[in-house]
């Protein structure tokens, strides 16, 4: 059989792919433990946590300027949080609207989807032009924020659309037939059932916004977000402190992921106790 050769070959290919995917991060992690005199390259002079300390401002006067991450980290998290809330609400509302068939739904769908297709640098430029024409000052919590929502709302919308596709409408009708108003039905039946989807939409929005910088570049004004702070270091010489920073932010993201996983697990556990009737009905 060909698959006797094919399977291991493809397996090896997939393993090589994973190495390709993770290689740079592994190298970056190794080099983040570079000694104080070492540069952003091999060989590693001596293993130390120097660059982590430097990053956190724990080392004495250093030959390298500290990365301006403190405030920008806070801004990025706030921005991502604002974006998450707004785009999830918009996404849920729009997906709910798409459950009824109506004229003009096709163009509306593509208008929303366009938000994730348009390159960030273009809408960023457009927004910068617009705000300077209208005399609105640019700020991460204003001009950047609305663009982040433009980007993440389509993702939230698609996630919710997929969730509603699998949603059994009769449970809502059951609630209505019991005399429960549409609003209460949404609150007590629809929302609890789609909640895992809402959580996924939120995770999507948060990660995308937290990491977004093409849309922020022209629109953030004076105060930088985290990705902008990193981007600023591109033009100058890089030092291992960026690597240390990369490792730390990745760890931070994983913490976020774990929190999401725990929330999800708690929810599905509860759902498993009352497992859905459709699996063995």
């Amino acid at each position: 059989m060909e698959s006797r050769i094919l399977r291991p070959t493809l397996g090896l290919y997939a393993a090589a792919f994973l190495l390709f995917l993770y290689g740079p991060m592994i190298v970056l992690t190794i080099l983040s433990f570079q000694g104080p005199e070492g540069g952003p390259q091999f060989p590693v002079q001596d293993w130390s946590l120097y660059w982590y300390k430097q990053l956190l401002g724990l080392s004495e006067a250093s030959r390298v300027a500290q990365l301006p991450v403190g405030d920008s980290l806070l801004r990025s998290i706030t921005l991502a949080f604002m974006t998450t809330v707004v785009s999830t609400v918009l996404g849920v509302m729009s997906a709910e609207a798409f459950r009824t068939r109506f004229k003009g739904s096709g163009p509306a769908f593509y208008l929303i989807i366009l938000g994730m297709m348009v390159p960030g640098v273009l809408v960023g430029l457009g927004m910068a032009l617009l705000s300077s024409t209208l005399g609105i000052s640019r700020a991460w919590w204003g001009t950047s924020f609305v663009l982040h929502v433009v980007y993440t709302y389509p993702f939230a919308f698609l996630v919710m659309l997929a969730i509603f596709n699998r949603f059994d409408r009769t449970v809502e009708e059951a609630a209505l037939s019991l005399g429960v108003s549409p609003a209460q039905t949404f609150r007590r039946v629809t929302f609890p059932i789609i909640f895992p989807g809402v959580l996924s939409a939120m995770l999507f929005s948060f990660t995308l916004s937290y990491d977004e910088f093409a849309r922020t570049l022209f629109t953030a004004g004076r105060d930088l977000t985290l990705p902008l702070a990193i981007y600023g270091t591109f033009s100058v010489e890089i030092h291992p402190n960026i690597f240390a920073f990369g490792v730390l932010t990745t760890l931070f993201s994983f913490t976020l992921l774990v929190i999401y996983g725990l929330l999800m697990k708690r929810f599905t556990n509860r759902a498993a106790r009352f497992a859905g009737q459709e699996d063995n009905g």
Binding site: A97, V121, F213, T249
Partner: protein, 303 residues
């Protein structure tokens, strides 16, 4: 979902069904309107602004709204900028092909050959995990990998395969292509795996029982059924690569100038009208690519 009960006085000629339909439609548009309004104000309007400003008059440090085609003439008359269009298209084509070549076999392996659901999920998660590192960090991570004193050169020298470090690895178009392929190939792997995973194994089983070779099965069953996934992946990759500038800025040492880089540098020197022209050109290219892809696949059905 609030009860949008708008019980208007009932004209006798409209049936309850029509009234209900009207009410449902009104509710749908009400639910949709904040989102559409947001998109119109913060996406469509800025894009229109880009087109508009591309016809403004550019002076040294500012623009004014006197309409002119001067910026367009300068752009289209400049070899450098036409060259940038060429570079953008070339990088796009190569990265798209590379993500397909790199990603498709992986998707085939995960979607078809790994039948253990847990392992399948684990592999997919492994593909997605790098996304939880900042995009810019992932880009910059290629520097210590490809540099003259980077990992690859160090290993090759240690192995005695080369004596001089390879200099073409970093700060070249090559590094940009490698970086983009690594960053974007997951967008190909995901949709393709999804489509291949949806193929009913019994169909393949049946074909095999009828004596079809793997080549035939692949050509006749797997390839056609995975094609929508490839198209969705291609749309994702295209849109992102065409709008790119950070990877080129970080890894090319200014040797590769994409349209995105031109926009950024023009904005940096306050040449707004010029940046707008580059923006319009970029929009046209992306529209053409998406339109082409959408002719082949209906995105709304595949989502």
């Amino acid at each position: 979902m609030t009860a949008l009960s708008t019980d208007s006085p009932m004209p006798t000629e409209t049936s309850p069904a029509q009234l209900r339909e009207r009410k449902d439609r009104r509710r749908a548009w009400l639910l949709l309107s904040p989102g559409l309004l947001w998109m119109a104000l913060f996406m469509v309007l800025p894009m229109c602004m880009v087109v508009y400003v591309s016809f403004w008059t550019q002076t040294t440090f500012s623009v004014n709204s006197t309409l002119t085609t001067a910026s367009w003439e300068r752009f289209l008359g400049s070899a450098t900028y036409l060259h940038a269009i060429g570079t953008t298209l070339r990088v796009w084509a190569i990265v798209l092909a590379a993500t397909l070549i790199v990603g498709y076999p992986v998707a085939l392996y995960i979607g078809l050959f790994v039948r253990n659901k847990t392992l399948q999920t684990a592999l997919l998660v492994a593909c997605v995990i790098p996304f939880w590192t900042s995009f810019l960090i992932r880009v910059i991570a290629w520097r210590p990998m490809l540099g003259t004193e980077g990992a690859i050169n160090t290993i090759l020298m240690k192995l005695g395969l080369i004596h001089e470090p390879l200099t073409f690895l970093l700060f070249s178009e090559f590094s940009v292509l490698v970086g983009m392929t690594q960053i974007y190939c997951v967008f190909m792997v995901g949709p393709v795996t999804f489509m291949i995973g949806r193929i009913d194994p019994s169909v393949i089983e049946a074909a095999r029982d009828l004596g079809a070779s793997f080549g035939t099965i692949f050509r006749r069953i797997i390839l056609p059924l995975s094609l929508p996934g490839v198209m969705v992946g291609a749309i994702f990759v295209s849109v992102m690569v065409l709008g790119e500038f950070a990877t080129a800025a970080s890894l090319s040492g200014r040797k590769v100038n994409l349209l995105g880089n031109i926009i950024v540098s023009q904005v940096g020197s306050l040449k707004w009208a010029f940046a707008a022209v580059a923006g319009v050109v970029l929009t046209l290219i992306i529209t053409a690519v998406i339109a082409l892809a959408l002719r082949i696949v209906d995105l709304r059905k595949e989502m």
